[in-house]
Structures are given as structure tokens and as C-alpha cells.
Amino acid sequence: MPFQAPAEGVLLPPYRVLDLTGPEGVFCGKLLADYGADVIKVEPPAGDTTRQRAPFVGDQPGPERSAYFLFYNTNKRSVTLDLETPRGRELFKKLATSADVIVESFPVGHMKSLGLDFDTLKADNPGLVMASVTPFGQTGPWKDYKSSDLISLAASGFMQITGDPDGPPLRQGNEQSHFPGSQYAAAAIMGALFYRDMQDGAGQYIDVSMQEAMITYYTDAHPALAWMQRGENVTRVGTNSTLVIPLGAYPCEDGWISAGIITPREWENLSQWMYEVTGNEEILNDDYKGGNQDRAPYNDIITALVMDFTTRFTSEELFHQGQERNLVFIPVNTVSDLLADPQLEASNFWFDLDHAEAGTLKYPLGVFDSEDVSPVTKAAPHLGQDNGDIYGGELGLSETELSSLRAQGVI
């Protein structure tokens, strides 16, 4: 594809991305599509399996109503294609010659078994960038290991530091494994396109391991370095951190509030405020002054004093009054709080997207707010909705050929 300018108010050039991913890589295509790439989701004729995933809009099952599918496929187009058939693979090769990027997340070696590996595809498209997002990467003794969100959280060690020290390692509820590998893949794809189009470079292949990506998403705990330098295994700390004291979630009058006291000056401000409110002089103890690590020996007593303080306020009181004293108290929100949050509203985070079956819903698209560029605002595609435009209009297949492909179940 020629190196084309983005449309007015759009960030990315309309790079064509063929998205063959499952949950491992689905967010990569979404991120590129939300900011203007032409991302085509290539689905099996029966539809991507996540179209069947609950919950559904209105709790009515249907391939166009899965909240999961709707969230992860905004701004993509959809074609159907059976890669298990020779004609399907032939058609995919044709599609691949029109693509800037292919992103896939099949088990290692699957694309090669179909004859659709990078070396084969680049023969007809030397500028092609192809990225694979897989649980453990393309090489190494664990490359063929089976995975899932839970397994990724375990293998990366994320679970080891989530939860209560007396309980089991815990999973995060937002399917955290969907993000790191996909985000790094998107960054690497942009780098590869930059290399191709700004430096006259070749196309290339990108191998992303979800395990590695996730390990780098908690580098401030850096368990491998902690083991190497201290012989200690970083572990779970419950609702309170050991990195910084006090830091964590504390009960308040109407639920939970989180707080983090990091600099020596913040401690001065907090201890003074706590003394004003509780009258307990203990908090002014000189032993507790200093940087965050200086309070480590007194974690238990300080946590108890902090809780005696926080339970006298509501979450909103601590959030706003804390800021007046240059202190960080942060509300513990749920999704309804997010939708009502004035800050997210003011910074153009939410966009209403219309979908023929799912109706109009607010989607979080605006991770960047800008007067110069905005996200694209198309809802997730219906299954195969772009077959005609892409196979007929763009690849030039005749109506007879399309009918034959449909009859054979290839598309």
C-alpha cells in the first residue's frame, strides 16, 4: 500500500492491517483501528468464537451482541474466510499482498502449516510487517505451552503479587493479559512501519511473548532483580503495599479509599492532618519521618493509625480535601463511577457508538485527548459485512467468483 496521509483529524495513516488474532492479540488491532488504521478482522465463516461469549447486550445471546466482541473490535471491518481450505488460503494470499500489516496469535507454527508464514507472504509483499502475539513467544522451551488469561497471569508472576499474603495468588478481574502483549505489538508495528516508510527499510517479522510483556508491566516490583540482589521472593501484600508506606486501600465511611504517601513532605502533611483530626500524638513520632522506605519497620502501627483516620471521612472528602493538602487519596471506583466521573467526561474519554443490533453505548476510546486528532467512532463490525467491498470492490473478484466461494463455504 502507498504511504498515505491520515484523514482530517485522524492520527494514523490508513495502514491496512489483517487481524487474525484471538484474545491474545485482539487489543492490538483495536488500538490501531481506534486511531485510524484500516483493520480488517478475518473471521472463520461461522464467526470469531468470541462472538458467542457472554455477557450479551440485553442478556440476549447473538453473534452481534457480545459485550466482549463489541468492546475489542471497535473500528474494525470484517470479512469471513476459511483458512482451512486451499481456496481460502489462496484468497488470503491475495489479501496479504494488499496489506501493510498482519497480526496473528495462532499457536506457534500454525501459520506455517497453512503455508501462510511470513517468509512465504513477504515474497509477494516485501514491505509486509507481520506480528505474532503468543503466550510464550516463537522460540524457547515453553513456546508450545498452552495458555489462557489465568495461565499468563501465573507464568508472568503477576498473580504472585496480587491478593492477601495469607491467601492464594489472585487473578485480576479485567483479563489483564489482553493488554501488555497487544500494546507492545502495536508499538513494535508502528516502529516497523516507521522503519519501512521513513527510513526506506524492509518489512519485517515481530515476535511478541505475552509472558515477557506482562513481566515488564510490574517492573517496579522486579521480582527477578529482587531475588538476584536480596535472595527474596516478592510476594502478596494484601491491600497495603510494602514498596511505600502508607500505600494501599483503607476503609472509609462509605466504602474504600486508596492513599499513597511517597515523599517526606507528604508524610509531614499527612501526619499533621491526622494529628489535627485524631489528637493522637503518636503519629508525630520522629521515627516515622523521612522517605517512604524509612517507615517500613512501623508498617503495622502506621496502618492502624491511618485506618483510625480514614474511617472518619467519606471517600469524596478524602479525595478532595487531600489534594488541598498536597496529598494523594484516590477513590476506589466501579464501572458506574467511571461512567459518571466528571474528569473522564471533560477529557473526551467516552464516545457514543451506534450499532444496528447492540444500540448506542458509551465506549472508552479516548486514551489520548487532542484538539488535533480524535479516535474513529465506528462500532464493531457485523460478521462478514465487508466481504463485498473488500473481495469484490478492492480485490476485484467477480460476482460469479464470490458466489462460488460462498457456495463452497470459503467465505
Binding site: 459485550a67 522451551p141 498452552k146 491467601g167 508499538a187 508502528m190 527510513q199 516478592v234 487532542s370 488535533d372
Partner: protein
Amino acid sequence: MTSQSAPKKPLSGIRVLELGPYVALPLTGRILASLGAEVIKVETNKVLDEMNFIPAWSRGGGQPEFQRAKKRITIDVRTPDGLEVFKELVKVSDVFMTNFRRNILDRWGIDFPELRRLRPDIILMWQTGLGGIGPYYTYKSYGILVQHMGGVSLMSGEEGEPPATINTSYSDYHTGVFQPVAIMGALLRRKLTGQPATMESSIFKSGALTAGPAILDYQSNGRMPQRIGNRDPFAAPHGVYQCQGDDRWCAIAVQTEEQWSAFCRVIGSPDWCQEDTFSSLDSRLANQERLDELVGQWTADQTAEAVMTLLQDAGVPASVVSQGQDLHDSAHLKAREFYRPTPFYLADRSKPAYEWDGGEGIASAVPPKLSVSPMEFGSYSNIGEDNDYVFKELLGMSDADVTKFTENQSLY
């Protein structure tokens, strides 16, 4: 542009000016530097990044993760001379990125419209904790707390228990890896349209985005996300099971009937595997407590590694819950050259960085492996180590001026 002889990297010829501490912004800088941009990191000995003092490792040991492959210089932008030198750097940069709030930037005299006058085509990436515009724009925040504000902690943890906290500022990393995508996009767009862009991002928005499908479920069905521990609506057995040793666990996720059959074979096809109560996903989900107990009995007297290997060899998803030692010693990560040796500097508040002692640690590679233009691990500079290059070679300042501004602590 760069010289003909040096092999080109993806971001060769792009200069990025970075002003700000902690995780998200420096991570963005590291990724851009790994792709070949010249990232100039502005710091000052007078107010050190608290990330130098994270206690899980030796002080400063984690900084190579965030600052490597950059040119590190010292400028106190709060001084008049420092601010002038900073503005000279803006004039020769393609990108300026900062994570300070507007009230702080105002106090220092750093004003985005003025920066754009100094360098009309500059890309501006302005990242804060809670948002640079809107009602919380002056609010201070820390990334580790945004797991609470972004809605994730209330959906993590055991049913009926307090929200589970993750002992890391993981939302920071989401922001840190979003930003290079936007910056590279803006640079391409500038090339193609001649138009620069100013973009604002926040840890809060990055975290809230990951609340994901639950946001749509709430709007359309009024359903709040529930805490369900390690369970999953689409798989059973699904959880972590205690194994031999101190705090040793193996995660197991049986997602298909084929995997269930393989699981039963691996554990020796006990009679209970054949019971109707476990014959389908629905029945296994309905009887999870007993199922978890039975699986736990099988794992209890084995090592986590043995459980993982037996199951993976049969095609069943399983993994040790990795501890630091597992990651450090992992044959898989070694084969992929994930952790690499690096020097670091032992942070000490009592003296300037150039007097800090050196040490040897490890840092991770930036994960994606690009076949033609790999992410560079790069070298590691100490704070201020690249002052001479940046001030004298790049800006053409005289030796006398650099000495004077260093002595009056503007470039310090």
C-alpha cells in the same frame, strides 16, 4: 538527519525531550530510545526521582529498566539559566513529553503555546496521573493507586472479601506503552500532512480503558462486575492449586472437553473423574468447590513444576505461579535472552549522582523481537553523564558557559 554510514534504525533522526519521573513517561522514552530515537532525559540532582529508592532491590537497581539507551542530562528548569537551556533543547527536538501537571509547569514557566512558537512542528505528549484538563487537572496522583480509580480492584479478589490489590503500579505501564504508538503516529502524520499534534493522556484513562467489556455490560444490563477469585465463567477446573514447598502454586485452566479428558488421564483417571457431576463444563462449574478440593489433593504432594510439566505435556494449560527465583532462573526466558546484565548506580540522597557507586544488576529486554531492526538494549548512562554531549556538541554551548551554569546549579 543522521550520517550515511550508521545503519538506520526505525526512529533514526528523531529527537525526543523527556521531562518527568516515575514509570509511565520514562517507559515511553525507553521504548522510543530502543527504536533508535535520541531521547534526552532531563533530570536534576536537587529533586531525585523517587523510583531511585524503591526498596525491593538495591537502590537505583531498577532504573536501567526505565532510563537505558537515553542521553541523561541535568537541568534545573526552575532556574532562569536552566529554563533558557531547556528552551534551546525544545528548538532542536521533534517531540517534547512531560508528566508534570499544568500548575507545576506554569510555576516553572513552561508553557505549551510558547514551546510551539519556539518549535512550530513539535509533537507534544502531555501525560498526567488524573488528567491535564478537566476538574482534577491540578490533582496529584500515583500510578499504583489508579488500579482502584480505574475500576479494576473492585473486580479483583475473592467473593465477599476486600478488593485485591496488586503490589505494583501496573496502570502506569499501560500508559507507558500507549504513548509510543501515539507519538510515532503523530510523527508519521506530521510527515504526511505537515501538521503537528498535541496529545494529552493520563494513567486514569489508561486504567479505566482496561475495565473493558464490563463497561458495556453495566450500560446494557445494569450488571456490576463481581469478584469471583480465580474462577472463570467458561472453564473448570480453573484456579491455583497449592503444591509442595513454601507458597508454591500451580495454575490450571481446563477450557475444553478435550483438555478435561487429558487432565483426567494425567491424574490417573480416578473414579471421581467419571462422575456425572463433572461430565460437562456446566456440571463442573456447578460443583467447583468439590472439584477444586479434589484437584488440590492431587497437586498437594507434588512440586508445582511437576504439575505444570505433566499437564502441559498432555496439552492442558498450566503454569507455575512464578516467583522471582523462577523468573530469574527460567530456562525459557534465558533462551530468549530476556534478562540481560546491566550496570546501575547506587542511589544516595546525600550526594550528587556523579558520586554514586556503581553496581551490576539485570534489566529486561523491551519485549517485541523485530527481525530486521531489533529493539536495542543500548547502553546505560548515569544521571547527568551526557551533559557534555548535549550542551556542548548538540547545543554548541561554550565550555565557560557550561562550567558557569553547572557551578550556579542551573545545569545540575
